[in-house]
Amino acid sequence: MIQDKAIIEVDRLNKSFGQNHVLRDFSLQLSEGENLVILGKSGSGKSVLIKCIIRLIEPDSGTINILDQDISLLDQDEMDLLRADVGFLFQSNALYDSMTIRQNLEFPLRRHWTKEERDQKAESAVKEALEDVGLLHTIDMMPAELSGGMRKRIALARTIILHPKVILYDEPTTGLDPITGREISELMNRIQEKYNTASIIISHDMNCIRMTANRVIMLIEGRNYAEGTFENLIKNQDPKVGDFFEGL
């Protein structure tokens, strides 16, 4: 259920790497419960944008508000606490390959839960997250023993274990076959329904976008070039927009 209240607000964000201006006065608003897809060419700055939002990369200028907090004003401890409300699914999954699946899922709890809480609730939280992604039987396996699709699901389970209010997805279906990609997209929708999360989804997989997006922003040359529902953008006559939807 999409609410009017903005959960993330990005205002006139700029980021350059040397002479390469990746983001130019980029702005967006994400409402509670909304799935917002950022669409753009490879190297257009989509991943940089969400890494700025989670403060893995510092922007050159502009402001980012998450849950009414300007993240540039937060110290490291405050930012770490805020990160409990913002999940991040990495394109590479970023599972800790020296840890079991159980340890991978328990890892985010160690910062945000007390030892007593972990002793009492960690086991059930890990199992619930694994059940959500349908992989409870992998709990004592190592990431290397899993297929690409399974690893993506485990990474998603690790992302939702703290029940974040927002999830940032960095190309969640890239590198997966169309069937597995569709399963991941369905899973993203199920998780959104269950936990009422808002999401920013970086993708150029049209099936994923069609299945998940409430709204799409086209990031071209670092700017918010076009915005609308998936259906509206397909009908857009602008050639730069049309290139993305060719053949659909």
């Binding site: 893995l56 913002v86 991040f88 970023a94 800790y96 890892f107 945000h112 690790r158």
Partner: protein, 257 residues
């Protein structure tokens, strides 16, 4: 300004970055809430899993040193000094430095490759996103473990190499167990042990910090991981020799030689 421009070279920039990284280590290590569980885990990996390699090398080192020194001492009729000479050489210099070089190879490359791989597969970013300070969890624990374990490994290497020396002395001679150890210990003073132990602490720290620095700042995919591991070994080995040279000079100034 001209001098600063001349110093603006990749070498000095790298030195500056390592200094900054080391400064961050000292800031993080003094902040509360250390990752003791991970420190113990790393101590096990760095210490226990390197012990076999260090032990075998130390044994051969003691054996070979004794076998090769014996003919020269016999020539001067000083073969009775063999245990003393071997023990002083091993304790003061050979065992600590060789142990540190082995650790630079095994631990330095291991840390460099592990952290490098974690960096390029975004695992370090994932830690940060989960609210855990990756520097404290990955770097502080490994540097501390290396700083603690290298002196311990070096002490064990001294003991094992002296035992190798005993066997070497008996290959072509006849030295009793008690006489060998009596002579070996009699030749040693605290001034031999203390500088040797102190410098291994610095060796361990250097190996840990260089391995972590190279791995933590790894770039350019799998190629970068390989480069991190290799340069970690090269820089750490070089630092061992430089620190050894400094330690000898300092011990000399302090009258410990």
């Amino acid at each position: 300004m001209a001098l600063l421009d001349k110093l603006d070279t990749p070498f000095f920039r790298e030195v500056g970055e390592i200094a900054r990284f080391t400064g961050r280590f000292f800031r993080e290590v003094t902040k509360p809430k250390q990752e003791w569980e991970e420190f113990v885990n790393q101590s096990y990996h760095i210490g226990y899993k390197t012990f076999t390699l260090v032990g075998i090398t130390a044994f051969i080192m003691g054996l070979v040193l004794t076998i090769q020194s014996r003919p020269t001492l016999v020539e001067f009729g000083a073969d009775a000094l063999l245990p003393s000479m071997v023990s002083v050489s091993l304790v003061r210099e050979i065992a600590p430095v060789i142990t540190a070089l082995i650790c630079a190879g095994k631990i330095g490359s291991g840390i460099g490759a592990e952290l490098g791989s974690m960096r390029v597969t975004e695992q370090i970013d994932a830690m940060e996103v989960s609210g855990t300070n990756p520097f404290k969890y990955l770097v502080v624990t490994r540097v501390l473990a290396s700083t603690v374990m290298v002196p311990i490994l070096s002490s064990l290497a001294i003991a094992i190499s002296l035992y190798g020396g005993y066997l070497g002395a008996n290959l072509k001679g006849d030295v009793s167990w008690s006489l060998y150890w009596y002579q070996a210990y009699k030749a040693l003073i605290y001034g031999d042990f203390i500088p040797a132990m102190v410098k291994t602490i610095f060796f361990g720290f250097a190996i840990g910090i260089v391995g972590c620095y190279k791995g933590y700042n790894s770039q350019k995919g799998t190629e970068g991981v390989g480069r991190s591991a290799t340069t970690a070994v090269i820089v750490a080995s070089l630092l061992v020799f430089i620190l050894d040279l400094i330690a000898v000079q300092v011990a000399d100034v302090l009258g410990l030689t």
